[in-house]
């Protein structure tokens, strides 16, 4: 135990935090590579090598740096820093609300970076990213509340270790989270601001003015983010036993595979649909689940 500004931090927490710092980009990169391979196979193509995202990143760093506006680079680096901090909070077992707020900060910096160039493409991209944020943010917050009600704590370390298997009580929340996860992963049908495909279209908007190193940093942000988002999925399953941890990891992988299928199976929707459906899903699945939880608590069926 060491004392960090009045908070007790165990060495285990420091260890998991450092592990995240080092291995999250590796895992994220591999996931992205496998994603591209599976996507290609689904389209009847051979697909790039698994390490392709890594090659892309290294190439981008080696290219000439062209910046439209100096502040842009700063914003993108801030985005990376906040993404890493978010992950550290999460994997060191910190407060879930704090995690969500810092995650929002990372997204905000990305949006500001998009707005900071005067290109209409990146402006539209940034606006769409804002809209998506408005769509997924309520669900993510509700999820935190749900996890608190079931596990009796906002601390990730406690949620992971506490007895109840959250998914049993939070099935609705899980479905709602699955729905908004498509936006966070930037997958079709909700890849409105920063698609992985459709390079010639408006949906590549946010990244229009980024090139070279800035673009590479953005890729790394994305790797960190994907691992973090899968971490949220894991929270629904873990109760500290080895079996549930294993099931949680499998669930994360299954979840990503499902996202790839959705990505390849659906055409892109308009932002109006994304916005409306996102909120409707949040209210129906998240809201109803919350009410059910309330009554369960009222009748003393769940602890805390």
């Amino acid at each position: 135990m060491i004392n960090f500004f009045g908070t007790e931090i165990s060495f285990m927490q420091i260890l998991t935090g450092v592990l995240y710092l080092v291995f999250a980009p590796v895992i994220g990169c591999l996931i992205a590579g496998i994603d591209r391979k599976i996507t290609a196979r689904m389209q009847g193509r051979f697909g790039p090598p698994i390490l392709q995202p890594y090659y892309d990143m290294r190439k981008l760093f080696a290219k000439e740096a062209i910046t439209v506006r100096g502040s842009q680079e700063l914003f993108v680096v801030c985005c990376l820093i906040f993404m890493i901090i978010t992950g550290l909070f999460f994997f060191a077992g910190g407060n879930l609300l704090m995690v969500i707020f810092t995650l929002t900060m990372a997204s905000v910096f990305l949006i500001v970076a998009g707005f900071s160039s005067n290109s209409p493409f990146s402006q539209i991209g940034a606006e769409r990213e804002l809209l998506l944020m408005m769509t997924y943010e309520p669900m993510v917050l509700l999820m935190a509340v749900g996890l608190y009600l079931v596990n009796g704590s906002f601390d990730v370390s406690e949620i992971v270790m506490s007895d109840p298997i959250s998914i049993i009580y939070l099935a609705g929340m899980f479905i709602g989270y699955m729905y908004v996860l498509t936006m966070k992963f930037r997958k079709s049908p909700f890849d409105l601001s920063m698609s992985h495909h459709a390079h010639q279209e408006l949906v590549k908007g946010l990244t229009t003015e980024f090139s070279g190193g800035t673009m590479a940093v953005l890729e790394i942000v994305h790797w960190y983010e994907n691992v973090l988002l899968l971490g949220f999925v894991f929270l629904f399953f873990s109760n500290g036993t080895v079996l549930m941890v294993a099931i949680g990891v499998v669930a994360c992988l299954a979840m990503y595979f499902l996202e790839i299928i959705i990505d390849n199976g659906y055409a892109r929707m308009k932002w109006q649909f994304a916005f409306k459906s996102g909120w409707i899903m949040t209210i129906i699945f998240g809201g109803v689940n919350l009410i059910v939880l309330y009554y369960l608590k009222l009748f003393g069926l769940i602890g805390a």
Partner: protein, 158 residues
Amino acid sequence: MAYITKSPWLIHYDGSSCNGCDIEVLACLTPMYDVERFGVINTGNPKHADIFLVTGSVNEQNIPVVQQIYEQMPSPKVVVAVGICACSGGVFKDCYNIIGGVDKVIPVDVYVPGCAARPEAIIDGVVKGLGALEKKQKNLDTVLTLEKVAREEAEEYD
């Protein structure tokens, strides 16, 4: 080894092509040829691109367009002229509006002849371009200096 040879992203511009070569360029992306297995991505954005594929000859109106796309690409970059039109003007050579091949406006590294150039030939041309890219990546500082000098001279000339 330069990573750029493993992930060449390209941008495709249609000069005054008859559209024959363009269709062959897009055919490279289909499951039949699947250039993504070499890490190639067809970006629509010069700022992300490493290889500039031009089909069709250059005419009076698109000189600034071709130049601007080339200017916006970060170094190292390579230009591949696809189809005989892009190489020399082809059948349109004597038209009143045609300047000639792409090399009349920007430096071209690889010429892919053919009317229309076959997808195999285009892939071959891109792979040839990779050699040039690797060389430029190795001498990036020199390339950047040369480009800067050329830009300044062009400004003076204007």
